[in-house]
Symmetry: C2
Subunit: 212 residues, 2 copies
């Protein structure tokens, strides 16, 4: 398999964790999101992935985008160890937590959105920073609250799931923007447990060959 990604992309980071967790080897193909106006906008990459976003996973002839779709694919093709529980209710809970991050936090603080805020909208760096912190706080407050009902060592019980795979990169991103994490003890505890696992540690942005 080949993974087109970027060391600091939260979405690519998710897929790296999943690949590591399932001990699948892959070739890492960096797409630099900033250099030359963003390599994701090149004709070559657009032909592969018209959304001009990372990641893209190639598995033989199959070209897949969207990190959550890729991880669900990996979980179907390489089911051990599982990233989603079998029970329909528990599975929905894992997916909902993953989507709480993937739909309601991450897209608002994505590079292209921040570029639009300071570009066409001509907002200040301070306004951009306030925007980022606002959506992180709104999202993490709800997430912390939701964990009361389902968390164990990880987001849902004591098994690593797709929810943890979304949470860790989002917390990495939040720390990069200087969010004060003291209000989220459950999130912090889960992230600590995740970081002790090689699958998570080796997927960290700083561990990637294209890290700067």
């Amino acid at each position: 398999m080949k993974l087109y990604g970027y060391w600091r992309s939260s979405a690519a980071y998710r897929v790296r964790i999943a690949l590591n967790f399932k001990q699948l080897s892959y070739e890492n193909l960096p797409v630099h999101l900033v250099k030359n106006g963003g390599e994701q906008h090149s004709a070559e990459y657009k032909a592969l992935n018209p959304t001009e976003l990372v990641p893209t996973l190639l598995d033989n002839e199959l070209s897949l985008n969207q990190s959550l779709a890729i991880i669900e694919y990996l979980d179907q093709m390489y089911p051990q160890p599982r990233l989603l529980p079998d029970d329909a209710g528990a599975k929905a809970q894992v997916r909902a937590l993953a989507l709480d991050i993937a739909c309601d936090i991450h897209p608002l603080n994505n590079l292209r959105v921040l570029q639009y805020l300071t570009g066409p909208l001509a907002l200040s760096e301070q306004q951009k920073q306030a925007w980022v912190i606002h959506w992180l706080e709104v999202g993490f407050s709800a997430f912390e609250q939701r964990l009361v009902a389902c968390a164990g060592k990880f987001c849902v019980g004591d098994d690593v799931s797709l929810a943890d795979i979304c949470l860790v990169p989002q917390v990495y991103n939040a720390k990069r923007f200087g969010l004060d994490m003291t209000a989220y003890p459950r999130i912090n505890g889960i992230v600590e447990h995740c970081q002790q696992l090689a699958a998570f540690a080796l997927a960290a942005p700083e561990e990637q060959a294209d890290a700067q």
Copy 2:
């Protein structure tokens, strides 16, 4: 089942289509997103769904949020007719298209985001409108391009899937904001096929009891 939703919410609209498609009866419980500062922020609703977003589906004791997680749950519990193909590659394609909308278009034009643009950021109505149109155009251009590889009568082949369920509400939303849809003939054709089905037609915002 009980569905907490709002007639004009794209995410609630998706779940209504899925429930109709599977011929599941449900009680519709409107949460007015604008009245009284937004009923989704009430203590009662927050206790049910800490994200303060619609929809929430109750199935006996199970409380589920996130429209895509809800629809996947329905598809597992009530598998006929299917909304996701069995084949792992085709399933990933359906999910990726659904997520192209649910992660990369819809969250940017959601009510709370538009309220932040004209509230704390004090942007003009014109700037807000340009923001909405920008993300719709970016998203639909890529989506139209991606359909070349997979579309038949519907987004992926000739069967209704989760991708169509995400597309129709997003196009409804785009038309509400006055987006010129002429650049997206494949999207338009698929939406037309969907609208001929009762499951889609009866889920339309204007058909809901709380429509204004």
